[in-house]
Assembly symmetry: C2
Homo-oligomer: 219 residues x 2
DNA sequence: GTAACACAGATAATCGATTATTGGCCGGAT
DNA sequence: ATCCGGCCAATAATCGATTATCTGTGTTAC
């Protein structure tokens, strides 16, 4: 299934930031680059649109979603609204296997370097994936596929937005936040875990507000 | 944009139950029936898959999602988990325009006949739509597109499942439930509204459990 | 000088035909 | 009689070419 490969390639490219928001995704060019036909490329693009990773402008083709501060804030709020509730369910229901996977995911997250020296300011692909897996594993104890799918969609949107938010981290200790999250979850302390998660998500959202509303005001 | 029409047609047909769960959706046949090419049909099918209204079996084509009791229960639980929280936000934030739209949606719901005499046991399209609009309007006060999109996806999945759940309504007064929901929302009584909504969703889910686990055990 | 129109190039959307893969069917061997 | 393996029809997936639509530019009329 060629469209699968093209889809994966485009998803990676968009999430990695190879294209800027608003850039046109021309089926012709993409088809030539990938060495496939138009139909295949179109199929992949339609899928991307379904996942929210591309916009479709009728009779004007496809494009990378344009960054919108408002939309980003709504996604962040949606996560703050939904994830704590699911986390509570997860903590209540998770079994030993879940506990083990949380530990494993946290370990992997801690041991994966977030930045590579030369690469510059952006997270490594490996860390981004470990980060996603940790957050998802925390919720997987709920055992509800529909809820986890909701998480997946919001996470994707959230990551895409963050990629384009030039975040100057206000003294933030992500490592510590994650550790507190892991501890509270494994202690079955739902209240604490939910509170820490909300704070974690709030801080992430706040980092963007600052940058977009006070660009380079360092006085 | 032809694929749009084909998409709309298929969505309606699937939701209406013109195809049974598991039925193959053959691009060839569909293309012939609709008088369009394969590419167009495929594009529509890929969209359907994205919306959860079709399954894709690699190298084996597309099919109507097979009904799964487990999946349905998970969707119902997801709704019970998310919608009350969003309803609270909506009640807290909704403005006068929202109030007016809630009243209008409820009025329309009440005045739309749920069944047509001859048609048999299934809801009319008009009532199903009015029902959806009422529930969605209740949540729209939250003003968060990401959350409403989540609602839309869960609603679609929920409706599709319900279409195939031969629900024998246990003495249920849907009209009354909706009225209590409207009243609590407009009274800004978030606690009551959330509680009524959870009960509403629980009863809907329960109707299916009964039928699938005790098929025709009447005495 | 401005504004409306028409042309041209680019590209989105669609089509009909070709290739590749699947699952069932038949025959032969054990 | 049953099981294994190779044909065959059906159809999924892909392709290259065609048609329709949009955007920008240049021209002409006022």
């Amino acid at each position: 299934m060629l469209s699968e490969q093209v889809y994966a390639h485009l998803q990676g490219a968009i999430m990695r930031g190879d294209y800027a928001p608003g850039d046109a995704l021309k089926p012709q060019d993409l088809a030539r680059e990938q060495g496939v036909s138009l139909a295949v490329t179109r199929e992949a693009l339609v899928r991307l649109v379904g996942e929210g990773l591309a916009d479709r402008l009728p009779n004007r083709g496809f494009a990378v979603p344009s960054f919108s501060d408002r939309r980003w804030q709504e996604i962040a709020e949606a996560r703050r609204t939904i994830e704590p509730v699911v986390l509570r369910m997860s903590i209540e229901r998770g079994d030993v296997d879940w506990e083990a996977r949380v530990r494993a995911a946290h370990h992997r997250l801690v041991r994966t370097p977030a930045f590579v020296p030369k690469e510059g300011e952006h997270y490594t692909d490996a860390w981004a994936e470990a980060h996603r897996v940790f957050h998802r594993t925390l919720l997987e104890g709920c055992g509800n596929h529909a809820l986890l799918e909701t998480f997946d969609r919001l996470w994707t949107a959230s990551e895409l937005a963050r990629r384009w938010a030039a975040h100057r981290n206000p003294d933030r200790d992500g490592v510590k936040e994650h550790r507190r999250l892991e501890e509270a979850a494994l202690d079955r302390d739902a209240d604490t875990a939910a509170a820490v998660l909300v704070q974690h998500l709030t801080l992430t959202a706040a980092a963007l507000i600052d940058d977009s509303r006070q660009p380079a005001q360092q006085g």
